[in-house]
């Protein structure tokens, strides 16, 4: 309903309203509000209107609330307000074992679960001093999963961006390709999101039979779908009109505001942690870092599109490497560290009653090896201990630098885990990008940052 009377039951009362007239906007026609404001002479007198956009708004990428001060169509001030999705993941992790922590942090930024897990596991592995002992096969699978997830995450940014600008076809075309990547993630981990697949010391389990074939089929069909998206969007006059020159943020601002990832690369700086500070063996893969100097929403879109092409290149190399290794089994080519005091003991297999420890593993611990039984029991009930200290591991997530600061007191649970989430950091730059611009430009500006509130609020 629209209310230009301050005493409407849904509106703020005189006492509540700090100053001026309050308009309650909840899904009706914008014209009505403009008409009411015109009638009251708000525009003529140059009065400013404070508008509350969100937290339930389809264009704010989740529960982001923006407090806008408008002068006509011009945004005078924008203040993002966050915290609506705060779930205390960092605090909860302090009450679980190191391995269980993966299950929590994967839920932070729900578009890039594999990245959350990897950042955390790399930090834990540095604390344990086992960075070099993670098996080669696990590292290849990690890279494979990271790049699959990068594609699904970028599409999870680009497709809704189209939708928010009113182009449903961009959404459906993006979702087509995204579904393929989610199918693969589901095939490999069992879940479309919240995988808890990357674990300290390796990965939860090896690729299932048929996974490589599935990925090859994906690699055959994905370039065409990606090309379709390029054809659909790249030169689209409406898309260009809405995005080019919008949400300008240059290199100096990025540095000051801590902005990384595609936004930073759209200012001309080819900074990518996969190249500059490689992890998981990224230094051995061939790929390029897309970069341009447009500094705007369109430039960021182009970089995300090109990065998906590069991800396909990396995935192809992963598949070649895995195919060359064959599948000699967990003894010869393990996916979990050999250290029996750290590596998760159980090999999973699918039985008639669902997924569980394999019959061979049960026979081994129950009938053959007392030590294996002890390790199994200790690791699963108590978890492993991590030497006291602190570590910071950073990876190049689809949105920018994702850092995990992990502190141990020497016990079986993290003493403190903090995630430096790129979405959280980037939302600070909304004011720098949008103030002084049109209110309509706010939508592509926020979409070009690709914030995910699950990661912002944690």
């Amino acid at each position: 309903m629209t209310s230009s009377t301050p005493h409407s039951p849904a509106g703020a009362s005189d006492a509540e309203a700090a100053e001026g007239r309050v308009y309650m906007v909840s899904g009706e026609d914008w014209d009505e509000i403009v008409a009411a404001a015109n009638e009251a002479g708000d525009f003529e007198s140059g009065e400013r209107i404070v508008i509350n956009m969100g937290p339930q708004h389809p264009s704010t990428h989740g529960v982001l609330r923006l407090v806008l001060t408008l002068e006509g169509e011009t945004v005078v001030e924008v203040r993002p307000s966050i915290g609506y999705l705060h779930t205390g993941i960092e605090k909860n992790m302090e009450y679980r074992t190191w391995t269980q922590g993966v299950t929590f942090c994967t839920r932070m930024d729900y578009l890039m679960p594999i990245f959350n897990e990897t950042a955390y596991c790399l930090a834990v592995e540095r604390l344990l001093g086992i960075e070099d002992k993670v098996p080669e096969r696990a590292q290849i699978i990690r890279v494979l999963m990271l790049e699959l997830n990068r594609i699904s995450s970028h599409l999870g940014g680009i497709a809704p961006m189209g939708l928010e600008l009113g182009a449903t076809t961009i959404y459906t075309q993006g979702a087509r390709l995204r579904e393929r990547t989610l199918d693969l993630l589901e095939l490999i981990t069992g879940l479309r999101m919240n995988h808890a697949y990357i674990r300290p010391g390796g990965v939860a389990q090896d690729l299932p039979p048929g996974a490589l074939g599935g990925i090859r089929a994906f690699l055959d069909s994905a370039p065409e779908l990606l090309r379709d998206l390029h054809t659909l969007i790249d030169a689209n006059p409406i898309f260009i009109g809405r995005n080019k020159g919008v949400a300008y943020l240059d290199l100096a601002s990025c540095m000051a505001l801590g902005v990384t990832g595609p936004v930073l690369r759209s200012t001309g700086l080819p900074w990518d942690l996969r190249k500059s500070q490689p992890y998981c063996g990224y230094e051995s893969y061939e790929f390029d870092v897309p970069v341009n100097d447009m500094c705007d929403a369109y430039g960021r879109y182009l970089i995300r599109m090109e990065e998906m092409g590069e991800s396909l290149r990396i995935i192809r190399q992963c598949v070649e490497r895995l195919a060359a290794r064959g599948s000699p089994g967990p003894e010869k080519d393990p996916v979990m560290i050999k250290d029996a005091k750290i590596g998760w003991p159980a090999q999973l297999s699918l039985g008639p009653d669902g997924l569980g420890p394999s019959p061979e593993h049960i026979a081994h611990i129950m009938g053959q090896s007392m030590e294996a039984l002890i390790h199994h029991f200790k690791l699963i009930t108590e978890g492993f201990r991590v030497p006291a200290g602190q570590a910071y591991a950073a990876i190049e997530s689809p949105r920018g630098e994702l850092g995990a600061h992990v502190v141990s007191d020497g016990g079986t649970r993290p003493y403190r885990v903090h995630f430096r989430d790129p979405s959280f950091t980037h939302l600070q730059s909304v004011a720098a990008m949008c103030e002084g611009g049109q209110v309509a430009d706010l939508i592509p500006a926020i979409a070009s940052l690709d914030p995910v509130m699950g990661g912002v609020d944690r």
């Binding site: 540095m255 000051a256 801590g258 630098e401």
Partner: protein, 267 residues
């Protein structure tokens, strides 16, 4: 490692692994007289005895007469130790450059930096809180350091670290030199003030609000230090160690499982 009661000791990274406790080692620009006797055991003992007591008695006996003979035991906290030179990697260069940059500004290295720890391939400067903005500005502006990017603040609450319970941890990244360092600042619970870094690294605006929200560290000079994740009228700072997880026990068919924070743990 952890104390017998499962709590971390002071600056717990120092007690890890092969790094035996070392006396203070002079770094750039400090002509400390303790150069030769830094490793003497007697000196280490003195240092430790000067630290606050963290535990009394043995075997946790509280309510019955102590018959073990260890009732008068007083365990002092391990003193914060410092990595010996050379730190390895690019760390020595960074420390030297910082020393000369501070000296050029008329600040002694020891006036600004409490100690330096190199552990697991990461370099940590423990900065005295009153010097934090100057040190951070040097890290950002000095051509040989040039840490352009700060990746935020992470608070840590060391409940047992008497007199410096609250830590604010900053990770700096130099894109020019492709290096990382960590700055760590501490403040006592009784006086939880740390100067803000928003002036040097504007990105810390929200990060400091988050750290205030969760730990109650007051960043002096912050433009608008308000809660950011929790509701404005929330009581307490949830990530502190003396703040419970706040879970509720789960009941089902007459059985009750305690809240997560009250379940058994092995630390």
């Amino acid at each position: 490692m952890s104390g017998p009661d499962g709590t971390p000791k002071a600056g717990s990274e120092e007690t890890h692994g092969s790094q035996a406790p070392q006396g203070p080692v002079p770094a750039a620009g400090s002509g400390d007289a303790s150069e030769t006797d830094g490793n003497l055991p007697a000196r280490l003992g003195e240092e430790r005895l000067a630290e606050p007591v963290v535990r009394m008695g043995m075997f946790g006996v509280q309510d019955t007469p102590d018959t073990s003979g260890y009732g008068g035991l007083r365990v002092h906290r391990a003193p914060g130790i410092e990595s010996p030179r050379p730190y390895g990697s690019y760390f020595d260069e960074v420390a030297d450059e910082l020393g000369s940059a501070l000296e050029a500004a008329g600040i002694g290295f020891r006036d600004a930096i409490e100690r330096v720890v190199a552990d697991r391939g990461e370099l940590t400067f423990h900065v005295r809180r009153e010097r934090l903005p100057e040190v951070a500005a040097k890290f950002r502006d000095d051509p040989a350091l040039r840490f352009e990017l700060c990746t935020g603040v992470s608070g840590v609450h060391y409940l047992e670290d008497t007199g410096r319970e609250l830590h604010a941890v900053y990770h700096l990244l130099s894109i020019t030199h492709n290096r990382r360092v960590r700055l760590e600042v501490s403040a006592p619970d009784a006086d939880p003030h740390i100067p803000t870094l928003v002036g040097v690294y504007p990105t810390n605006n929200w990060h400091e609000r988050e750290t205030w929200d969760f730990f109650g560290i007051i960043f002096d000079g912050h433009p608008a230090l308000t809660r950011i994740q929790m509701p404005d009228d929330w009581k307490g700072h949830p990530q502190r160690k003396d703040y419970p997880l706040g879970g509720i026990p789960v009941e089902y068919r007459g059985a009750k499982i305690p809240a997560p924070d009250e379940r058994r743990h092995y630390a």
